[in-house]
């Protein structure tokens, strides 16, 4: 792996200052910074060969379509999907999950059917299902978690019933960092012929994701959380589901033949890509995946585990600091509170020190309710963070405690 100063030099934003202090960016769970190569790739689309995809007979459209389809191939290979037809570009994880909740719901969900989620879900993997359940008269079933923030697997098994139609779970909790046992969850569901959607928003960027060996039916992730542009995301789905499910949106490019009487749909994956997709974003995402592959995903995991362990030790040494989410299996995210200091106060003061953290409920209010709190401070790290930054955070946190006590 490149050394840390070389890696950081790839990300122009990391060298900026904020309030005259070096920026320490610990909000990677919300969005990641972009390497220069991604910015160049997006810029190149618009300066070099921009044309709408799959439409023109002209060279610009051809070049853009080719780059866009190359990006699809990069995504396919990155998550080891079997076919390019199984890769749908969306606006992000939220877009992907909404598409499945709608299309799957329309096709397969009836009154009294059940959908299993976990307590750890982000609102993006709750609300679309809730909306679908309200429409169809179906019911949400929720897997509880223990005090470490780990799902109770036995309770999950008990929730599986003859009425369960789908299980939708995150690969990792955005609020606590817990990695869920997705392979075991999928195995148990498949034993009863129940498909599983994995929300990979917090999983894709932290290690090797192989949808074939995971055997999930759906996998959703966002480009901007894996060093790519915003407004682009991916839905992987097994071909069987994409063939059977009705499209979620109608529009251009997703059709085969349109008359006012009836419309037939285009082949996969275009059936699920209505309108002009954010193709520049997709091309940028393809470049971001190359960047991550070049760095080495196994190496990224090792480095992020080192950061997690170091930060956990450093923060645990602070008197009065409580960590929420103490699983042995975590992504490099730490959620915490200081004594009785409000998370907003902590976040505000850290911000003034140049340290960007997230505060609040992290769009995961049921997790907060489970722990009887109304928010946390979240430090979400990635490979470009350093041990020195963690030291500065530790000192900063101690200053916060002094200020408020």
């Amino acid at each position: 792996m490149k050394d840390i100063s070389e890696i950081r030099a790839d990300f122009p934003l990391l060298s900026r200052k904020v309030y005259n202090k070096p920026l320490i960016y610990f909000d990677n769970g919300a969005t990641t910074q972009k390497p220069m190569c991604v910015l160049d790739a997006v810029r190149e689309v618009y300066t070099n060969y921009n044309g709408n995809i799959h439409r023109g007979v002209h060279a610009m459209s051809d070049m853009t379509s080719e780059a866009y389809e190359n990006a699809r191939e990069k995504v396919r290979s990155f998550i080891n999907a079997g076919k390019r037809e199984e890769i749908v570009f969306t606006s992000g994880t939220t877009g992907s999950i909404n598409a499945v909740a709608f299309s799957f719901g329309e096709r397969y969900i009836k009154q009294g059917d059940e959908v299993i989620l976990s307590t750890l879900e982000h609102h993006a993997n709750i609300v679309p299902w809730q909306m679908m359940c309200q429409r169809k008269g179906a019911v949400l079933k929720v897997i509880p978690v223990n005090d470490n923030g780990e799902i109770l697997f036995d309770e999950y098994l008990k929730l599986i019933s003859p009425r369960t139609r789908i299980v939708a779970i995150s690969q990792a909790s955005n609020a606590l960092g817990t990695l869920l046992p997705v392979v075991e969850i999928i195995k148990a569901a498949h034993a009863k012929d129940i498909p599983v959607l994995v929300d990979g928003a917090q999983g894709i960027q932290h290690g090797i994701v192989d949808v074939k060996s995971m055997d999930c039916d759906f996998y959703a992730f966002s480009g901007h959380k894996i060093y790519g542009p915003t407004g682009i995301g991916v839905l992987y789905a097994k071909e069987k589901w994409l063939s059977e499910m009705p499209p979620y949106q109608g529009g251009g490019d997703m059709v085969d033949k349109v008359t006012f009487e009836i419309t037939t749909y285009n082949e996969l994956p275009f059936k699920f890509e209505a309108g002009t997709v954010n193709y520049a974003g997709a091309i940028g995402l393809g470049r971001a995946l190359d960047y991550v592959s070049d760095l080495g995903r196994a190496e990224i995991s090792v480095r992020e585990k080192l950061l997690l362990d170091y930060a956990t030790r450093r923060l645990s040494a602070v008197k009065g600091l409580r960590i929420f989410g103490n699983s042995q299996n975590k992504i490099s995210t730490i959620s915490f509170l200081l004594k009785d200091i409000h998370q907003y106060d902590t976040g505000m003061i850290l911000d003034k020190m140049g340290i960007a953290v997230r505060t609040g409920t992290h769009c995961a209010q049921p997790v907060m309710d489970r722990f009887g709190i109304d928010g946390t401070v979240r430090v979400s790290m990635c490979f470009y963070n350093t041990l020195e930054e963690i030291d500065t955070l530790g000192t900063g946190i101690e200053k916060v405690i002094n200020m408020f006590s």
Binding site: Y19, I341, H342, Q343, Y344, D345, G347, M348, I349, K352, T359, G360, T361, D374, G375, M403, F404
Partner: protein
Amino acid sequence: MTINEVQDIIIDEFSLFDDWMDKYNLLIDMGKELPVIDPKFKIKDYLIEGCQSKVWLRPEFDGKIIRFSADSDAIITRGIVALLIKVLSGRTPDEIIGTELYFIDRIGLRQNLSPTRSNGLLSMIRQIKLYAMAYKARGQSGHDV
């Protein structure tokens, strides 16, 4: 003292400090001085919900002036709440409606009033003005607006 005179005093007070840390310490102290809202009024009726922090605000109108009591669960928000109470409580509805709040910007706390912060402060100011307009329209006492 007029509302703007009070605003100017606050600006002077904060201008003594160059360092942001000192400003925030002053704010924290002011938050501590805020007379606490009676816990029995810390109820949904008086709650202004923000994603980041919550604010409770209760008006009392005696037919002439409106007195506000308020609180927040975050101390920095509480400090700003204290400043707003200092400026806007004990004023007539007309005074409140006609006030332009410039002090927050001038003491360098503008970011706290950004709508994206969702800390309850912006909604609090809006709510104070709404109470003032409602009392003005009704021109009678009571706090059951």
